[in-house]
């Protein structure tokens, strides 16, 4: 593994203006802080997992990195260049080097295009216009992702969810990217198919030296594929550690609760060590002071409600933002 980070995200913020509509009778304009100061880096050839509940901002983080959104603040250094402030024209070469696999295999493939057209779409965008060569690339990629050459002229509706996701992967690979954003690529699939897809992603990573940002809410799969994992809560990273370390020594109460929620496939095991989370996720529109997790944290103190915890290193490569760990050190 290279010591050089391929992607370095620093202080990334993405605010959406939530106007009128759903915000109640006041119709006051609110800021939805979907991502509020997230920093991490991903080394070349590494897989970084990003986990958290729905609405915690993990997808927004990913989509900001590939610049689907304009970033509110912060920098996204890809291979040393800051993507955050680039315009569409400057971004184009990077759009070839960064590809995306989306969550929903039923909506990520245009139903009116056949497999060849789908997979060669990014090729066309990036100036590979030779139809014959593109066709050969498509056939080779189909083989790589475990589909057959005879599938090349079929339409998406003829495939199952897992096969569609393979098509998405082949499409992402067609322009030989260095970085792939996997935005919950397995959440919509059956468990048996999930494992196949994850294993395939790993094989492809080894073969092409790919770097993944892997977003998911399923912790067991993420542990399997990720080298390091970041846990997000309400737009902030609360903990980041190498995956085994995170699973064995979760430091943040939120991470502990998430891990406790993984079902154990053995009815005799009862998991009672960690109290379940109380209450619901607070609205991301509310302006919380102090630690954002305080309202649901079983260990919260007055200090947590007042003061925002610092991002501190509690072990090699193990970072956490929690007051509980300030005191221990």
């Amino acid at each position: 593994m290279d010591a050089q980070p391929l992607l370095k995200v620093q202080g990334l913020k993405k605010y959406f203006s939530a106007s009128g509509g759903g915000t109640g009778a006041h119709g006051k304009k609110g800021l939805l802080k979907a991502v509020d100061g997230v920093s991490f880096h991903i080394f070349k050839g590494e897989t970084f997992g990003l986990v958290g509940e729905s609405g915690c901002g993990k997808s927004t983080t990913g989509r900001s990195i590939v610049r689907l959104y304009d970033v509110t603040e912060g920098s996204i250094r890809f291979d040393g260049q800051d993507l955050a402030k680039m315009n569409e024209r400057e971004l184009k070469p990077y759009r070839k080097r960064m590809q995306t696999i989306f969550q929903d295999p039923y909506s990520s493939l245009n139903p009116g295009m056949n497999v060849t057209q789908l997979i060669s779409e990014p090729l066309g965008i990036h100036g590979f216009k030779n139809k014959k060569e593109n066709r050969e690339t498509v056939l080779e990629l189909l083989n790589k992702v475990g589909l057959k050459a005879e599938h090349a002229d079929r339409y998406p509706h003829e495939f199952s969810g897992g096969q569609r996701q393979r098509i998405s992967i082949a499409r992402a690979l067609s322009v030989k990217p260095e970085f792939i954003l996997c935005d919950e690529p397995i959440s919509a699939l059956d468990v048996s198919v999930q494992a196949q897809v994850v294993n395939m992603l790993e094989d492809l990573q080894a073969e092409y030296g790919l770097t993944y940002l892997f977003i998911a809410h399923d912790l067991s799969m993420v542990r399997h594929i990720s080298d390091r994992i970041g846990v997000m809560y309400l737009g902030k990273l609360v903990e980041m550690a190498p995956s085994d370390e995170l699973y064995e020594h979760p430091a943040h109460p939120y991470t502990q609760a998430l891990l406790a929620a993984i079902p154990v496939p053995n009815p005799k095991v009862r998991n009672v060590s960690v109290p379940a989370l109380q209450a619901d996720l607070p609205s991301p529109l509310s302006n919380l002071s102090g630690c954002k997790f305080a309202s649901r944290c079983p260990f919260a103190t007055e200090r947590c409600r007042q003061e925002e915890p610092e991002w501190t290193e509690i072990g090699p490569g193990h970072f956490v933002a929690c007051h509980l760990h300030d005191e221990k050190n």
Binding site: K96, S107, S108, P111, E121, H126
Partner: protein, 281 residues
């Protein structure tokens, strides 16, 4: 259009015989319009001796007040009515699709400006505007096509905008965007093909209303000028002779009715075929 949609449409035609009837009626009218030159009489030849004859074997639809063969006039009139309907549909579909996709895709200020423009245009009684425009422009088929076209795209643009709003959230559009596809490319390659069914449905309804509009304009004497005819202008001619020669009103009226009805039926069939969830009538 892919094979799936095509199959759905064929299935729908098998299901609904009115659709087949509509297709047959339209095919007959279109062929008649194309091959109008085969008519046994010149539609503009005046034979005063033969004026106001009822339908007979010599003059299938009779003759009008100048003794012109009504069958030939109906054929040529159909040519005008159908082509005005078709051409102005092309204009309004092109305009409506362009405005709708741009408005829906970009959103924000552009959307606001374009949609308020649509609101303004829709709040003006378009028939009134047509009468005024018609007074200033040189009369002729081109003028009518232009006027109908630029005054009937607004509802299409609204429908297209709504569909664009939903399509642009789909992940294949997001994917195209993060892959570096240009905005124009996304609209042409992803958005328009995805909303094609909606466009086709509104197009077939739009032809029907364009034909009606042309007929109304011609009926008021503002459309096709003598000696040429359209179904609407033939109705206008028939006005004075409604008791002496009712057939003069019945034939063009019937043709307008059948054409408009057929296009509406077709539109309905397309709608049901393209949206499997829409209620089967």
């Amino acid at each position: 259009m892919n094979s799936l949609r095509w199959r759905a449409m064929v299935g729908q035609f098998k299901h609904q015989k009115t659709g087949v009837a509509a297709l047959i009626v339209l095919a007959v009218f279109i062929l008649a319009a194309i091959f109008a030159f085969l008519a046994p009489y010149d539609p503009n030849r005046i034979v005063v001796m033969d004026r106001l004859q009822g339908p007979s074997s010599a003059h299938w639809f009779g003759t009008d007040d100048y003794g012109r063969d009504y069958f030939a006039r109906a054929l040529y009139g159909g040519r005008v009515s159908l082509s005005v309907g078709f051409l102005s549909m092309m204009i309004s579909v092109a305009l409506g699709t362009a405005v709708g996709t741009v408005s829906g895709y970009f959103g924000g200020k552009i959307d606001n400006i374009l949609m308020r423009l649509v609101d303004v245009l829709m709040s003006i009684p378009s028939f009134f505007l047509m009468l005024i425009l018609n007074a200033y422009l040189r009369p002729g088929i081109g003028t009518i096509v232009f006027i109908i076209g630029i005054l009937s795209w607004m509802s299409i643009s609204r429908i297209v905008r709504a569909e664009t709003l939903s399509v642009k959230q789909r992940e294949y559009v997001l994917y195209a965007k993060v892959s570096g596809q240009s905005t124009f490319g996304i609209i042409m390659k992803h958005i328009i093909p995805s909303i094609m069914p909606t466009i086709i449905v509104s197009a077939s309804m739009n032809i029907a209303s364009s034909i009606l509009m042309e007929s109304s304009l011609s009926f008021l004497g503002l459309g096709i000028k003598q000696p040429n005819s359209s179904w609407g202008s033939m109705l206008n001619d028939a006005q004075g002779f409604i008791s002496d020669a009712p057939y003069m009103a019945i034939f063009p009226g019937l043709f307008i009715l059948l054409t408009v009805l057929s296009f509406n039926f077709l539109g309905d069939i397309f709608r049901v075929a393209f949206e499997p969830k829409a209620s089967k009538r």
